[in-house]
Symmetry: C3
Subunit: 424 residues, 3 copies
């Protein structure tokens, strides 16, 4: 378990204090092992981590394993239909029980000495042990688990932040999308050569979109900002909002982001780790696809393709972009100080049949291209901030306000360790 | 050379003290660098390490190199027929002299500047050096080396534990096996993804055998224990013992393990690092082979195939299983905190000719399968104990008494560093 | 940025003090991370590092990147024809700007948000930033850069050692070679499994040449030393010197090394990091080629092939061997404690055309073979000094005087950190 010496705490506090307002993080935040350990403790082992989708474990006994550093959880649907998050560690000799990324299990049997656990983790049998063993004390340890609108979250902490506020915010926006009535169409895993914060900093601004994301900018307005939203663009946005509001009212959908630029997130001042919004796409686009057309059956409750785009973000490890016909989640997991495992998952309606109702070649390229463009930039950014001569530069107040918020949110989390920190 | 700060010694002592009797070792024993360094110092660089077989270096000049961490020894047969263990480091600029795993050398010549050493390590020539060099002071450094019954051991320590007691115990049991009149039939090297202690803990119980070792349990009785030795099994064992005692008496072989369960080893209370025994195989089996039949010429002094199985174990790095017709040694060498190099060597009678007298396909599978089944389990165990939520569980008093002894033996060795330790 | 605790400084000082005069460095110098960090700080991040050749960046906009540890420089020819060394780190978010090893750029454009810099590093544009940004303060940071006789050097320090003395010493010897009027014929990159000092120690003696460098010893005299320079060899050297002096006088070339053995370098007492000399080759050899014949057009100002061989060495990272028709530079860069990236570059006259005027098969083998023979020895040496039983041995006073000087030079550089150090 991580712990910090007095000197390490002082060094961390000094590093936190050294950040100049409105500027990037000092280099140590991306290359210092103590920072990484502190982030693991204060952010990753404390907050709510997105695991995957309820549709991935639809039936009792379906499970996925979920690895964070040296830890692994078995996230399994129980006989009662509820999801259990069990530490993947046999209570006998500590052996890892499930080694596959996903599967279906009647009971969880340790491969070493066949200690056998039910789907809720309780120890059912342990042949060969002495008679006075108390099986009731030797069930698999349980982690916190929650779901909202088809998204599964766990926390490695016994005292995680409140989840209900997040669920109440996300649920009404996400419900019509039908993420809980979806199926996985495609998963792509990436090994990104950058610290996890660099991946978020990339995600939190569209300053880099113009040149780097030719596909993305055709469908969205958020690369325009106060400095470059011309009257013509402004008019296009207003028209899109007006058009959407009229249509969506009937369907119970709300336009929650009505201007150029990205929706504000995170809200560092309120220490808010989640956000959700729905916003129109560019006229002519009903889906984040290469040509903007619908490429799969409508998801969820939608009866019309023109539902704009739904966005959900939860720190520290998930964002979602959903269109009328498909949804895409991006999940981050740090695998080292300068290494992040990223999983991108495409969802469609659970009844849609590949080949008949949709083709992967229509659904996947938009976010595969956009993702890979970003991972390359993240790698370049990591290399640069590793330099002894990296000096954090100024953020654009027009375009990088969310990066600034993200940076402040991170500093708050790290300050908690030093006793000077925020409250939930 | 390893050394420990006051804080590291305290941390080690606390970790040692934290182990609960009858339970597995706390996770730090498998993942903490200080523990690893302490084990290297107190166990691996102090005790007797099995190198290989005298038959591998039968003639003067034959040598094998033996690597432990960054160290390498040349184990070479001298002109007088005795085995020398020489540090593989030129006394001039420190260059490694022999880089091959085995070979034959008239003299040992450093490839860099051709300093030349005799087979006993003495410096013979060093062209180009000033006249006042004292060659007698510049021979290769020598390490301790011993042999018993065809097995070669070295110690990296100048004050190793007593070897003679071990030799006296092993010699009478091993002599009839003729390990010194053998030849190597096959060597397989493995890179096991587990701490060396996990490999021993696996070796010290047969609780895992029933499901994991279908081949092994057909030939042996030791997976039966007090809790599951039925009357029928008990009768089979008694019959096997009785049958063997009668036959073996004439041949001077003794039955030294007469019941179900594994022979007790190590004896932590007496700090004993070696053991040897002979025990019957299951009726119908005269060799640890797939079908129990003899598959090579009888070894050593044997005149009948029914000699049961000979077992030798020496901590920290060797065990042997021998049948009438072949012997198998398993040699461990830690290559990191969670990595162990394992070499399995099959021996047959030195006059046996492959293809004519035996086929590798008959000799190798039994222990190759059994070994590989174990390495997979060890890897799973290592993954599990790395978890932040690993809690050491109770050992089975029926089946894991030797694992408990092994754990206590390790704790004793580590305690020596803190000055609270045992004596040899 | 590296810094050292009080304990680390003490440990370093103790290690420095532990070296016995006339003997090799203790093992810690090749395996201790603190030593490596101290060398990075006191030697590599302070001194002048050879980058490459002016002919590699002949025209404005031509650049090479140059990596030292986590740092990268863009070495680019400016519009004014002068060479700029710019830190390869965008002043906005710190992104690495140039990721290719070489190229040609009108302007340096960061791939992330397109901040755009001129060839001298000044910030030309940063679309999207607020109006009060002071572009004059956000140019790329500049490193020290110098050139001498076609060789480019940089220093990562703001207070590097004096360069002019070195330039004044090197220039008159190197000018006739025409390195600034050359072209690159071939580059070979090596990853050598040894500490950078082991590579230099290998370079600083020819004691190892007799057996290991069959090609090299046919062309040169420097493997002969006071102990083995026979009268016949002595006469050959005198004849070669006499013959050369007569011919070279007319061409303004000087014989600066007139005896057997290698020219003395480094001069630890005067803390001198550079040297240059010209010396005859063996009779019948006019070039360091497999058969000694000229294999490419004469370089520079030469009008006759008999110009002996020009040698330049600059610590910590370059040596050069030049013949009448080609030149070879060897550049070292540490990539870890026991890992050195070595680049060997062959140069010919800039007007020489491959296939017509020269063939790589004639030019490359002599130094490719000699280099690779050395890298293998360096790897063996590193393995040996890693041993717990490595004891530094005596240097040959006949043959290893330069290794002894190099070792003392290194110790001086390290002592600077402890406040007991030398001055430039």
């Amino acid at each position: 378990m991580p712990s910090f010496t007095v000197q390490e705490k002082r060094d961390l506090a000094a590093l936190v204090a050294s950040r100049q307002p409105g500027h990037g993080l000092p280099g140590g935040f991306y290359s210092n092992d103590t920072v990484y350990r502190a982030e693991m403790e204060n952010i990753w082992r404390r907050g709510w981590l997105f695991v995957g989708h309820t549709c991935e474990i639809a039936k009792p006994g379906d499970y996925v394993t979920f690895a964070v550093g040296n830890d692994s959880l078995i996230v399994i649907r129980g006989d009662d239909g509820r999801i259990n998050a069990l530490w993947n560690v046999c209570r006998h000799r500590g052996t890892q029980i499930c080694s596959e990324p996903r599967g279906r299990a009647g009971r969880l049997v340790c491969p070493y000495h066949q200690w056998t656990y039910a789907r809720d983790g309780s120890l059912v049998s342990c042949r060969g042990m002495q008679e006075d063993i108390d099986k009731s004390q030797l069930g698999l340890l349980r982690a916190q688990v929650r779901e909202v609108a088809g998204l599964i979250y766990v926390s490695l902490s016994d005292n995680p932040p409140d989840f209900e506020q997040a669920a109440e915010a996300i649920e009404p926006f996400a419900r019509p999308q039908g993420l809980d009535r979806a199926k996985v169409a495609k998963i792509v895993d990436y090994d990104v050569a950058a610290n996890w914060k660099i991946v978020w900093e990339n995600n939190r601004e569209c300053y880099h979109c113009n040149v780097n994301h030719p596909q993305y900018i055709k469908a969205n307005f958020d690369h325009y900002n106060a400095d470059d939203t011309s009257e013509r663009v402004s008019a296009r946005i207003s028209q899109a909002v007006a058009r959407s509001e009229e249509k969506w009212a009937a369907a119970g959908l709300a336009v929650s982001h009505r201007q150029s630029g990205m929706a504000q997130f995170p809200d560092a001042e309120r220490n808010c780790w989640y956000s959700v919004n729905r916003t129109p796409l560019v006229e002519g686009y009903v889906s984040e696809t290469m040509d903007g057309r619908q490429v799969a059956p409508l998801m969820g409750d939608y009866s019309d393709a023109d539902v704009g785009t739904l966005r959900i973000r939860t720190l520290p490890n998930m964002w979602l972009h959903a269109s009328c016909d498909h949804a895409v989640t991006t999940r981050l997991l740090p695998t080292g100080l300068q290494r992040t495992a990223v999983r991108v998952t495409w969802l469609v309606h659970r009844d849609a049949v590949e080949g008949r109702d949709y083709r992967l070649a229509d659904i996947v390229p938009f976010w595969q291209l956009t993702s890979e463009q970003d991972w390359a930039l993240c790698g370049q950014a990591q290399k640069g901030v590793n330099s002894s001569h990296y000096v954090p530069g100024p953020f654009s107040t027009y375009k990088e306000y969310n990066v600034d918020s993200f940076v402040r949110w991170c500093l708050q989390q790290l300050s908690r360790e030093q006793g000077a920190g925020g409250r939930e």
